[in-house]
Subunit: 343 residues, 4 copies
């Protein structure tokens, strides 16, 4: 069977998580997120962001996190601005609209939103009350195309949002990868400081399931549990989420796993560069998009699985390769070997 | 720390499930429910219900299962009838209404719906199109108060629903307990035969999370995946659900765990009976509701935790005790001992 | 053709309204409620309620008014309490649930809610966050069964709501009839003082269409126009609503029409009383519910149309008779004559 | 006061409608659209479209028509494609999203959708079930920028929709104007033949309020009344809508009014052409978009009111001028005189 670079959720979870699940398995705990592990994991996050007033809630997946946060924060006539590549705009089967809110899609070069992009949307919606009112900006870090925000970019965006009375919400399905990229200059504390809310992704970084929603803006924290329950996100055995995040965060495992995934991707990237390949976008996280000829794609496909992402011209296409915490050195070595042999 | 009889989700999962998670942990699999384990678990269910045309979908929890099934099946003007004790009527923070549908609550003696209960609601809604149209009946087995449906009761209800053009949907959060109760005469095959859809609960019967939605009515199977995704229920690592249900269903583990929970409850029930206690309702599953004096409640509370369920009079209240697959013989023996010593 | 006592919207509108429509027909005005007539009508209402800070919005009908007010005021997890006879509970095809909110129905003797009725619902919903949060109380005056609130009843209810942090919203589809009933002791000013919002019904009191929503609670006034537009309630020619309410309110026409309808109903009621009939409920507005034998119903049905409302026993049923501003003295005389001849 | 060319809903209604309202005012009728006038008006429409199996429903306004049709036809995971200038995409405060459905906006040159525009959206949504399913195409005729569809364009679009299993819904807020434009080659019968549903606008063509929804596709007709009621669109005095459409359609008044509005616009257009002005788009209906210098705009603004629509460059902007059934010859003559005097 071919090895798959299709995504970062092909395996189960990091072995330390399974060990923790075994260890605590028969300890009786309260349900619905009131277990010791969830409460401890929440504390670990508050320490790491250096904000004891933030609130943490654990949910199963990213679409769930997005739809609950957005529907909890917005009033019925309010909308959210996202990049056209943003997960909520195009990859969640209308989950946000299903809660009643319009998502504005903005075309971007690199999956990142800038104040100007948002201002354009604001400029198109001045006919009050005949148009929706923009009230939230949604970004992803790393983005769906593997790019990351710099500190000054995030600061500028947050200041713009503050000025325009917009909430800034950051989808962190791959936040670990963003914060451990070699070009990154943001800390988790910065993320909490320059957003109203964000989530810290577990599913794509070593957990079986789980994302940790962090609500930094105190005005938005109220009664959030009702929304979790109403949307079917409150697990009876919330311990499953708590144990995992406790294990990932009690030391630096969470960041080590992401960093390892990034490094593997960078090694592969380097091999493509040495072969003279160009890339669809310049990324430093665990997603790379080399542009290959049809022949090269055919060669690599014999032993490896990946997505052909975008046709460039008659001869060439960009492919997407994703590494993860589970990608081994030996697989990377095998793959690089095949890259070296590409014609 | 006191031992808790408060619910059947206080522990993690049956050890065999953890073993299976460990065993398959590093095998690469497709995401979003297309993994081998989920597909195999679905096949096992189809065999057990003897209906190869049914469709199976795994989700994280009961509220999620309920809201997705109901919103996928109903058109905007259609409503669902439930008992007032029904989980969707009173314990899901308006999850069904949040998808746009009215839930009619019917007062019942024992948590079970009968054709007459539903007919009363139909009779109150004849002013077309000024009132919602009833299109679904929601029942739970075992019910939220521990009672179960007999075969003839379920058949009658299903025939009534067929005649009135109503879908019958069965919440099986504790279906294992219902089907292994000593007074039960229904099989899993019957459940599939006499409902349009149901779910088989994992969370309360030995799994970490997970409920298996089974859509028996072929007209309702179409495009269900869209609804799962839109409501945030499609796990990237669907393998987590697949592995658990595969393990629970590859032999009779699922039913053995439920039966064990029931037996423990019946042992405790017998001890109360021998002490001369009466009960709020007559149950044969893993929930019992003995009526005790305030003194007796105080005595039992010293070493055990449980809910005081309903005040009967100035002196007495019914309490709720729930056993599970994880309740041990020795705990039951200790508890029975305390019952014997009650004054 | 038989004369109909089936409802109070069988005719068009009071002739003065048609005259006003003709008079202003070709004057150019701004659209969407920014016309002079709507603004003037709003001012007239603020004067009558003696509250210059309230906000007025005109919409087409009662269901529309209800669904917009409720969905604009509530957050997703919040619910509204109503009598089981309340229009939103049973006669609006799930309009409120379609905006995502649960409506709790309370059984009442006379269609009116008392603090105790609401407290019972609150008592059933203490399991935070697993149950919806009650945030609004919906009442109608006059109620759907023709009864009215006294001043002390409304004050008590409002104080209770204030104490429990609940909004009080009054459906005034027949508010004119309530305030001109011979037993009434409330003024329009009281209505505004003891509710967070209410609406003043036009459709059932002489207008072609139109209800005037009045938001008294200043915290709830913000951005209401967005909700009107989103729900399809903002008429391009808002003048149609403005002209009608301006005409109804520039003197006491609105109240005179309602009073006339009430008086006609009371004359008919008296005739039934003199005949020895009893009534389903004691009403002093434009709806009466005499209890008649099948024979009597048959006799009256020969020349008049009305609803048989509720079966009392094998022999007798209550019928519903509604009068309106358009009911003439001569029709009432004819009908009373037939009552006198009843066997 | 300045004469306004800002829109086609600045006046009341055509005098014949007021006469009819007066004439039938005191005739008792059934409520909720079951009055004789509504039923007769529906028949007149069925005759004009030559399709006795279509179903007609009258509602108050365009946003209401759009949101009810779309939410009634689509299942929760289905979406609708519109031009970015489409009313539902940008001018209804998220009314469609508020019912749970995504609206895809397509950039167009002239406000009209072509099969290729839709195919592009389909091509972006092949990742089942992670993306919404396109199920409806929404067009306007005349469009929001005054352009119209030719017969072959509409046929091609309908065939494409049929092939792709998409419903075609036409917003006819200004359908009268489209069908009476000098370049038009479509009939009302064609409109019904080449769409699944459409509406015939009254508000912008001589009525006080009112749009007539026509459902041509028999599979979509079922239980539509429930949706009308639930969304607050079912007027108690449906007669108001019925009388108006009966009057507009019993002869050719509806088309005469639209044609008159178009002719007035064309006279003004010709005056601008003779002055050497160019236009933002080439229109033959009651909206024109001449491009003027700031000085010219200033001159015309002294006695006339209109919207400055789009800045072209530092010196010039396009303005929007809308005529209506109520625009008189003398106003047009005055305005043309001012155009002739423009510098």
């Amino acid at each position: 069977m071919k090895y798959s670079f299709k995504n970062d959720y092909s395996e189960g979870c990091h072995p330390r998580i399974l060990e923790a699940l075994v260890k605590y398995n028969l300890v009786q705990q309260n349900g619905y997120g009131l277990d010791d592990y969830s409460q401890n994991a929440a504390k670990l996050i508050l320490q790491k962001i250096n904000n004891p007033k933030a609130k943490v809630h654990f949910v199963s997946g990213g679409t769930q996190a997005n739809l609950i946060v957005i529907s909890a924060f917005l009033r019925p006539h309010e909308s959210v601005v996202a990049a056209e590549t943003g997960h909520i705009f195009t990859n969640e089967t209308g989950a946000i609209e299903a809660t009643g809110h319009k998502v504005h899609g903005v075309e971007t070069a690199d999956g990142k939103l800038k104040p100007d992009d948002i201002q354009k949307i604001l400029n198109l919606h001045t006919n009050i009350p005949h148009q929706v009112k923009q009230k939230m900006v949604y970004i992803s870090n790393s983005t769906e195309v593997g790019t990351i925000y710099s500190k000054v970019e995030l600061q500028n965006l947050y200041e713009f949002c503050q000025e325009k009375n917009l909430y800034l919400f950051l989808d962190g399905a791959r936040l670990g990868h963003a914060l451990t990229a070699e070009t990154n200059d943001l800390t988790l504390e910065d993320i909490a400081k320059y957003t109203d809310a964000f989530y810290l992704g577990g599913t794509k970084n070593g957990a079986l399931i789980g994302e940790a929603i962090v609500i930094c803006n105190e005005n938005l924290q109220d009664e959030f549990g009702f929304h979790l329950k109403q949307k079917g996100a409150m697990l009876a055995k919330g311990r499953l989420l708590g144990i995992q995040f406790q294990e990932l965060l009690k030391d630096d495992l969470y960041f080590e796993l992401a960093k390892s995934a990034n490094q593997k991707a960078m090694e592969i990237k380097k091999a493509f560069e040495e072969k003279g390949c160009s890339f669809l976008s310049e990324t430093f996280t665990n997603q790379i998009f080399p542009i290959l000829t049809q022949n090269q794609i055919g060669q690599l496909s014999q032993n490896f699985d990946f997505y052909v992402w975008k046709k460039i011209d008659e001869e060439k296409s960009a492919v997407r390769l994703i590494t993860s915490w589970a990608t081994t050195d030996s697989i990377v070595a095998d793959f690089i070997n095949e890259i070296k042999n590409l014609k």
